[in-house]
C-alpha cells in the first residue's frame, strides 16, 4: 500500500476493534456512522474508516458479546442502529488497553535509541 507522508491512512487491522470499544466507552451508545466519524475526528482526520471493514467488525464484536445493538433514533429523529458496550466489552477494553500500552512501551524502547542516533 502506498504510504506517502501526509496522505490519510486506513485503520490498521486489529486496532479498529479497540478504537470502536474505546469510542463507545467515551461516547456511550452510538450508531455506525457516528463511530466512524468519531474515530476519524479523534485521529485529527488522519485516519479514514473503511465502512466495508467497520460493519463486519461491529458484527464480529457483537457476535463475541462485547457490544450489543438496538434500533433507536438520532438527534434529528432518524432511525439508526445504536451500539453500546456490554460488561464483557468493558472488561475486554481494559485488557486490550493494558496490552496496547505495554506494546507501545516496548516498541518505544526499541525505537528511542534509533531516533537519538539519527
Amino acid at each position: 500500500m502506498g504510504d506517502k507522508a501526509g496522505e490519510k491512512k486506513d485503520v490498521w487491522q486489529g486496532t479498529l476493534a479497540l478504537m470502536v470499544l474505546k469510542t463507545l466507552q467515551a461516547m456511550g451508545p452510538l450508531h455506525g456512522y457516528g463511530i466512524a466519524r468519531r474515530i476519524e475526528q479523534t485521529s485529527g482526520d488522519r485516519l479514514i474508516v473503511n465502512y466495508g471493514t467497520l460493519y463486519p467488525a461491529l458484527l464480529k464484536l457483537e457476535q463475541e458479546g462485547y457490544i450489543s445493538s438496538e434500533w433507536g433514533f438520532s438527534d434529528n429523529n432518524r432511525k439508526a442502529k445504536y451500539y453500546k458496550l456490554t460488561r464483557a466489552g468493558r472488561k475486554q477494553l481494559n485488557k486490550e488497553e493494558r496490552e496496547w500500552e505495554q506494546t507501545t512501551a516496548i516498541l518505544a524502547r526499541f525505537l528511542a535509541p534509533g531516533e537519538e542516533r539519527s
Binding site: H31, G32, Y33, G34, R37, N50, Y51, G52, T53, Y55, P56, L59, K60, E62, Q63, E64, G65, S74, N76, R78, K79, A80, K81
Partner: protein, 900 residues
C-alpha cells in the same frame, strides 16, 4: 470461549437470513442519510451532500458482501443453498428421481441387509467379557459335541483353562407357565460355571453357579432380559418367584443382560437351567427331525467352551489338550461306532478361538450368503454406474445452464460441489428408503436360512459399526455416481457450449457406456439363468415321489402335559389312542409309531447268503399295523405288520428297500433272518425274521440319499421306546376339524396327553424349504438386476441419441430415412446386449458350478433356463432401447441442423 460463542451466534444467523438482510439494508440506508445530513449542515448543497456521502461510503454491495461473510457460516449456507437447489432440481424431474431413488434403495437396502446378517453372524464380538480369550473345545474330528461323562472327566481333570463350561446343544422349546398363562420359549441347560466363565453377570439377582448344578440342588434358573420384560414387566420382585418349565418348578434367581444370548449365533435362549436338572426333568420331544436325548447315554449333546488363562496362547492350550485328552478317554468306557460298530478311537481335543461366537448356520450357508453379498455389491455398483450415466445425459442437457454460471463467475469447484450435493441428496434419499428395504430383506434372508419351525434368531439391533457402514456406503454411492458426471459436466468450453448447445459424443464415452451395458446384461443373464436352474430344481424336487402320499395325512405328536408324565402307561395309552382314532368318523386309516430311545443306529449282524457276517447301521422305527397303508408306501415284497405280530410271537421286521439291498444284496430277503444288536457292548443279539420290504421313503430333502430304515412292530418294542410317539391319520375333511376331533379323542383316553398336529405335507414342504427360498431369492435378485439393466440400456441409449442429434440430423439430411436411423441406434445397442448375453452365459456356467450342491434334477446347461434368460434379456433390452431410439428417429433434420 469467545470464539465458540461467536460460532454459535453465527450458526444461529444461518437461519432468518431475510430479516437480517433487511436490517443490514436499513442500517446502510440510515448511515447514508446521517452522512448526508452532516454534509448539508457543513454547507453543501443537497445534491453534492448526497454525492459525497455515497462516494465516501464506497460500494454498498461490497460492504454488504463482507458483512454477509462475517455473518453466519458461508460454507454451511452454500451447503443449504445447494441442498435447496438440489431438491428443487430433483422435484422438477420426478421420473428420473424415482428411478434413481428406487434403484439405490434396492441396492443399498440389499447390501445393508446382507452385510448386517454377515456382521451379526460372524463379525460382531460376543457380548461377554474379553471374547477374544474364549475358545470352543472340539473333538479331534472337529465337531464340538460331547457326551455328559466326557464333560465330567474334562471338567475335573483340566487345569489348562481358567474356566470351562458346557451347555446342551439341543436347546429346545420349553413351555413355561406362570400366573399370566403359558408360553413357548427357547431355553438352554448350562453347566454351573457357564456364566462365570463367560464373565457375564446378572442385571438383577445372581447368575447360576456351581452349587446350582449339583445333584439334589433346588432347581434354579436365570431368565433372559426379554422374557423378564415380556412376562414380568421388568418387575424387581421376580427374584425368588417360581416359574414352571415343562411343568417342573424352577426358582428364578437372576436376570441375564439384554444383549446376552449365549455362545451360539442364531439362537436366543430366554431361560437358563442347570445341566443337572436336565437329568431330573428330561423330557423327550421326538419328531422326525429333532430330539433331545438324555445325559446318561453316549449321545453327543454337549458343547464345550473355555476361557484361556492370562498369557496362555491357543497353541499352548492345544498342546496341553494333547497331553490331557488320552487321560480323559482312558477314564471313560469304550464306545462303539454307530455305523461300523468298531471301537471309537478319540483324537485329542482341540481349542479354537470363538471371539464372535459359534454358528452352525453360518458354516453351512457361508457360501450362499457371501455369494449374495457379492451379487448385492455388484448390483449396487451397477446401479451407481447407471445413475452416473443418467446424470451425464442430464448434464448434457444442462450444459448451457452450467456454461452460463461459469461465465457469470462461478468457480468450477463450486459447481462440482453443487452437482455433488444433488448426488448426495439422491443417495441419502435412496439410503433412507434402503433402510426400510433392509429391514424387510433381513427378515426374508433369515427366513430363507432358517429351517422351518426352528427360526434363526438374531439380535439385529444396530450398533455404531453398522451405522458407519451404512453411512459410508451411502457416501461412496454418491461419489461413485456423482463425481464423474460432475467433473465431466463442468469441463466444458464456455464459449462453444453457449454458442452451440450441442456437441458431438466423445468416442471414449461410447466405449465406457457399451462396457456398462455389457457388464450388467452379463450379470443379469447369469443371475436369471441361476434363478431358472433353482426354480427348475424346486419343481423337480416337488414332482419327486417321496415314497408316500402326504395329501390328507396328518401327523399327531403325543406327549405328556407338564408333570403328568407317566412312562409306565405310555404303551397302553398309545394303543388306546390309536383305537380311538380308528373309530372316529372320516378317518380312513390310522397308525402309530415310536422311536427307539437310544437314537443310535442299531447294528444288524447278518448271516449273509454267503455266510459272511456283516454289520450295517440303520434307523430303527417301531410302527403299528396299517402304517404303510396309511402313508400309502408300497410294500415291495412280503407283507405289512398285522395283529398277529405281538410281543409273544416271533420277532419280525420290515426293511426299507435300500437297507434290504445293503444287507442281502439282490436276494429277496422275505423269510430270511438276521441278528439285531442294539449297539451296547453287553447288549443281546437276537434273531429277527424279515417279513417284508417297503419302498424307500424320503422324509428329508428328496435329493438326499434314502435313509436305511428298519421297521419293527410297535408291540415288540419292549422297553426300548420312550415317549408316547406319533400317530399318522389319513382322514377326509379339513385339517383344523380333524385336529379338533383327534385332540378330543386323545383327551378321552387320558386328559394329561397333549397332541401337536401337523399335515404330513408340511414335511415335504419343509424339506424343500431351502430350495424354495433360494429360488425365490435368486428370482427376486435376477429381476432386480434385470430392472437395473433396463434402466442402464435406457440411459445409455438416450444419452447416445441426445449427444448425436446433430449427426442424426446430417445423416437424415443426406438421405437416410427414419427407419435407417432407428435401426442404427437399436442395432448398436443390441450388439452390446448380445455381447453381454454371451459373457453372461459364460458367467452362468461358473455360477452353476458354485451352486451345484443346490441344483438337483436339472442339468447346469438346462436349455429352458438358458432360453428363458436370453429371451427375457432381449425383451428387456429391446423395450429399454426402443423408446429413446424412436425419439431419435423423430428428429427433424432441419431443426437439428438449424439449432447450430
Amino acid at each position: 470461549m469467545r470464539r465458540l460463542r461467536a460460532l454459535f451466534s453465527r450458526l444461529g444467523e444461518v437461519f432468518g437470513r431475510q430479516r437480517r438482510e433487511r436490517e443490514l439494508s436499513a442500517e446502510m440506508e440510515s448511515h447514508l442519510q446521517l452522512h448526508i445530513e452532516d454534509n448539508i449542515r457543513a454547507g453543501m448543497s443537497p445534491e453534492r451532500a448526497r454525492r459525497e456521502a455515497i462516494l465516501k461510503l464506497g460500494g454498498i454491495e461490497q460492504t454488504k458482501l463482507s458483512y454477509r461473510e462475517r455473518r453466519g457460516l458461508p460454507m454451511l449456507e452454500t451447503l443449504l443453498q445447494d441442498f435447496r437447489f438440489a431438491t428443487r432440481m430433483l422435484r422438477k424431474s420426478p421420473g428420473f428421481t424415482a428411478v434413481a431413488v428406487v434403484s439405490l434403495a434396492l441396492g443399498i437396502g440389499a447390501t445393508i441387509a446382507i452385510f448386517s446378517v454377515i456382521y451379526v453372524m460372524a463379525l460382531r464380538p460376543l457380548p461377554v467379557r474379553h471374547p477374544d480369550r474364549l475358545v470352543e473345545i472340539a473333538r479331534g474330528d472337529g465337531t464340538n459335541l460331547h457326551y455328559y461323562a466326557e464333560w465330567k472327566e474334562f471338567q475335573n481333570r483340566q487345569d489348562i483353562f481358567s474356566g470351562v463350561l458346557a451347555y446342551n446343544y439341543f436347546d429346545g422349546d420349553f413351555e413355561i407357565t406362570n400366573s399370566r398363562g403359558k408360553e413357548e420359549v427357547s431355553g438352554l441347560y448350562v453347566s454351573g460355571d457357564y456364566f462365570p466363565t463367560l464373565g457375564v453377570s446378572a442385571v438383577l439377582g445372581r447368575v447360576l453357579q456351581s452349587s446350582d448344578d449339583q445333584p439334589g440342588a433346588p432347581p434354579a434358573c436365570v431368565i433372559g432380559y426379554r422374557l423378564w420384560r415380556r412376562l414380568y414387566g421388568q418387575s424387581r420382585d421376580v427374584l425368588g418367584r417360581a416359574i414352571r418349565v415343562n411343568g417342573n418348578e424352577f426358582q428364578i434367581v437372576g436376570v441375564a443382560p439384554p444383549s446376552f444370548f449365549g455362545v451360539d449365533i442364531g439362537s436366543m435362549p430366554e431361560i437358563f437351567m442347570p445341566l443337572e436338572t436336565e437329568r431330573t426333568f428330561r423330557d423327550y420331544h421326538i419328531t422326525y427331525g429333532r430330539q433331545s436325548p438324555s445325559l446318561d447315554s453316549h449321545a453327543t449333546i454337549l458343547c464345550f467352551a473355555g476361557r484361556l488363562k492370562p498369557g496362555v496362547s491357543v497353541s499352548q492350550a492345544n498342546a496341553g489338550l494333547r497331553v490331557l485328552s488320552p487321560e480323559i478317554y482312558r477314564a471313560l468306557p469304550p464306545i462303539r461306532s454307530e455305523s461300523s460298530g468298531r471301537l471309537v478311537v478319540h483324537g485329542a481335543l482341540v481349542a479354537r478361538p470363538i471371539p464372535n461366537g459359534t454358528s452352525d448356520t453360518w458354516l453351512q450357508d457361508m457360501d450362499v450368503v457371501l455369494l449374495l453379498m457379492a451379487m448385492a455389491a455388484i448390483a449396487l455398483v451397477i446401479a451407481c454406474a447407471n445413475l452416473g450415466n443418467l446424470l451425464l445425459a442430464r448434464a448434457a442437457k444442462r450444459r448451457s445452464e452450467i456454461a452460463t454460471r461459469l461465465a457469470l463467475g462461478a468457480t468450477r469447484w463450486r459447481l462440482v460441489r453443487q452437482l455433488l450435493t444433488e448426488s448426495a441428496v439422491l443417495s441419502a434419499a435412496g439410503a433412507a428408503m434402503g433402510l426400510l428395504v433392509a429391514r424387510w430383506a433381513t427378515q426374508a434372508l433369515l427366513w430363507a436360512l432358517s429351517y422351518p419351525g426352528d427360526p434363526i434368531q438374531l439380535d439385529l439391533s444396530w450398533d455404531a459399526r453398522l451405522a458407519v457402514f451404512a453411512v459410508s456406503i451411502t457416501l461412496a454411492c454418491a461419489l461413485l455416481f456423482g463425481l464423474a458426471p460432475a467433473v465431466e459436466a463442468t469441463h466444458i468450453s464456455v464459449y462453444s457450449a453457449m454458442n452451440n448447445g450441442v456437441t458431438t459424443g466423445k468416442r471414449r464415452n461410447r466405449i465406457t457406456n457399451s462396457g456398462l451395458v455389457v457388464a450388467q446384461v452379463a450379470l443379469s443373464v447369469a443371475l436369471l439363468v441361476s434363478a431358472g436352474l433353482l426354480v427348475r430344481t424346486l419343481r423337480a424336487l416337488l414332482s419327486q415321489d417321496p415314497g408316500y402320499d402326504p395329501t390328507g395325512v396328518l401327523v399327531a405328536h403325543a406327549s405328556w402335559q407338564g408333570a403328568g408324565k407317566n412312562p409306565q402307561r405310555e404303551a397302553i395309552v398309545g394303543k388306546e389312542i390309536l383305537t380311538e382314532f380308528r373309530s372316529l368318523p372320516g378317518v380312513v386309516s390310522a397308525s402309530w409309531g415310536r422311536m427307539s430311545s437310544k437314537m443310535t443306529l442299531s447294528h444288524l449282524v447278518v448271516p449273509a447268503p454267503s455266510g459272511v457276517e456283516r454289520r450295517i447301521g440303520s434307523y430303527l422305527i417301531f410302527v403299528s399295523p396299517d402304517s404303510f397303508r396309511t402313508q400309502r408306501t408300497p410294500i415291495l415284497a412280503g407283507r405289512e405288520f398285522n395283529h398277529w405280530d405281538t410281543d409273544l410271537s416271533l420277532p419280525v421286521a420290515i426293511l426299507s428297500d435300500d437297507l434290504a439291498k445293503a444287507l442281502f444284496g439282490g436276494v429277496n430277503p422275505v423269510g430270511l433272518r438276521f441278528r439285531e444288536n442294539d449297539g451296547d457292548e453287553n447288549g443281546q443279539d437276537y434273531a429277527v425274521e424279515v417279513v417284508g420290504v417297503a419302498r424307500d421313503v424320503q422324509f428329508r430333502r428328496p435329493s438326499d440319499a434314502p435313509l436305511p430304515l428298519l421297521f419293527r412292530p410297535v408291540s415288540q418294542c419292549g422297553g426300548s421306546c420312550s415317549g408316547i410317539g406319533d400317530f399318522e391319520v389319513r382322514a377326509a375333511g379339513a385339517f383344523a376339524e380333524t385336529t379338533k376331533r383327534l385332540e378330543n379323542a386323545a383327551a378321552r383316553v387320558d386328559p394329561r396327553v397333549v397332541l401337536k398336529c401337523n399335515p404330513l405335507s408340511d414335511m415335504v414342504n419343509n424339506a424343500v424349504h431351502r430350495n424354495r427360498a433360494m429360488a425365490l431369492i435368486a428370482t427376486t435378485f435376477g429381476l432386480f438386476v434385470g430392472l437395473l439393466a433396463m434402466i442402464g440400456v435406457y440411459g445409455v441409449t438416450s444419452h447416445a441419441s441426445a449427444e448425436r442429434t446433430r449427426e442424426i440430423g446430417i445423416r437424415m439430411a443426406l438421405g437416410a430415412n427414419r427407419g435407417d436411423v432407428f435401426r442404427m441406434l437399436l442395432g448398436e445397442m443390441m450388439r452390446a446386449v448380445c455381447v453381454g448375453i454371451a459373457f453372461g452365459l459364460g458367467a452362468a456356467v461358473l455360477a452353476a458350478q458354485m451352486i451345484r450342491q443346490t441344483i438337483w434334477g436339472v442339468k447346469p446347461t438346462d436349455p429352458l433356463s438358458l432360453g428363458f434368460a436370453i429371451c427375457l434379456m432381449l425383451l428387456i433390452a429391446g423395450v429399454a432401447a426402443f423408446l429413446p431410439a424412436r425419439r431419435a428417429m423423430r428428429v427433424d433434420p432441419m431443426v437439428a441442423l438449424r439449432y447450430e
